[in-house]
């Protein structure tokens, strides 16, 4: 597997599925990149767990206000039409189904939609944050991820082996090789890199890739 998408390219692809005016929560870290690739003419409204709707880019260095941060504790700015609220209202938005999409990272995703992204096991200090709330709240829960681990093992699996974040919650995956929906307890392949064969992609995936229509080419700009 020589060719794969960069993180920026995965983020770009995920951004293309976000409608104008959508309310979006991006997980800490890699998912935050999605905000940079909104298609021209579309503007999503970003939600952060700690009580801002409508935050914008990071301020220039030295101009941070540490009372205006996102869930990753990075300084942000406000877009016009922003609002502040407390944590219970913030998670009312999440749990109450008001977010259009949450885009999260993953350690493992299973074909039944189970997600593991908060704990790599009993070692170390466990930390969960808002991930368990987000996976059961947003209307659509998408994952962006490398297709395989650094060791080349599948991250898309039949059943998760790591502690779960949520049960049956993920509906779409944007990986470094493909776009895959989860439907009826199965991975359904929607798009793949033109340079990778279906067989190779299957061999890098821990559960069967179903087809229920044409598989589009996953074409992403240089970034």
């Amino acid at each position: 597997m020589s060719e794969k998408l960069s993180n920026a390219q995965i983020a770009w692809r995920a951004a293309q599925d976000i409608a104008d005016g959508a309310y979006v929560n991006l997980g800490i870290g890699f998912p935050e990149m999605v905000a940079q690739y909104q298609p021209p003419g579309r503007q999503a409204i970003f939600h952060t767990e700690n009580g801002i709707l409508g935050f914008g880019e990071a301020p220039p260095q030295g101009e941070e206000d540490w009372d205006m941060i996102n869930a990753g504790k990075k300084a942000v700015t406000l877009n016009p039409g922003a609002a502040f609220f407390h944590h219970a209202d913030s998670f009312a938005m999440v749990r109450g189904g008001h977010l259009d999409v949450a885009i999260l990272g993953a350690y493992e995703v299973a074909e039944n939609g189970d997600l593991a992204n908060w704990s790599t096991g009993p070692k170390g200090v466990p930390a969960v944050g808002g991930a368990m709330d987000l996976v059961h709240g947003a209307k659509r829960v998408a994952v962006i991820t490398e297709h395989v681990t650094k060791d080349g093992k599948p991250k898309l699996v039949k059943r998760c082996t790591l502690p779960l974040t949520g049960v049956g919650c993920v509906t779409r995956l944007y990986t470094s090789l493909a776009v895959i929906d989860i439907e009826g307890g199965h991975f359904v392949l929607r798009e793949k890199l033109p340079s990778i064969s279906l067989e190779t992609l299957q061999s890098l995936t821990g559960a069967e890739l179903k087809l229920d229509g044409p598989v589009a080419d996953l074409i992403v700009p240089e970034l």
Binding site: G21, L53, G81, F84, G96
Partner: protein, 245 residues
Amino acid sequence: MDKTRATLAEAVADIPDGASVMIGGFGGSGAPIELIHALIDRFAATGSPKNLTLINNNAGNGHVGLAALIEQGMVRKLICSFPRSADPRVFTQKYQAGEIELELVPQGTLAERIRAGGAGIPAFYTPTGFGTLLAEGKAIETFEGRSYVRERWLKADVALIKADVADPYGNLTYRMAARNFNPLMAMAAATTIVQARRIVAAGEIDPETVITPGIFVQYVVEVANPAQEEVLNRAGARYPEGEVA
């Protein structure tokens, strides 16, 4: 992104027969009279929407607003805490004639059920109503030796909301105690329709003072000089105007 709509008629055009409709306000304070009257106009012209389930703290007063909606025969069921007012005749007559169903809910439980609906909490426990008729048939649980009633969330297809200032994103402020149920209902409905006294540009509402963030709002219509139920009733108003039911 622009949630503003030009007319009240446009804003209420899609509410179907049989819909559950939360209506903000406590008595006349915070009651979206013009949105309600637009719904009555639509019913007069098209026969829809009818068989509505309304959720409000009260049951209307006089012959305008909520009372007029009931008087027109558009309402199948009312969920409220206090179906009394200075002039509750419209509801009382329908109720005593068996033409409208009533679900009586303690006021705090009503508020909390609506908030739960908006917050994704399907059920919660409250001490309110334990040992009373209003807890009959409900699950009871004991925590730390005290008994509590389990209550379910309350959601609706539509909420009709009266705000003070709005922006195109649907961010809202309210006027004094007209806030009451409005922010909760905005959270708990699939489609939240707002009449605002003033619509300003995005960014003109201080983000610190937003009471309802726009995520809870679908449509906003400006009604610059909203009628107040108490004032209409003192003038003996009826809606539709001049009609004697």
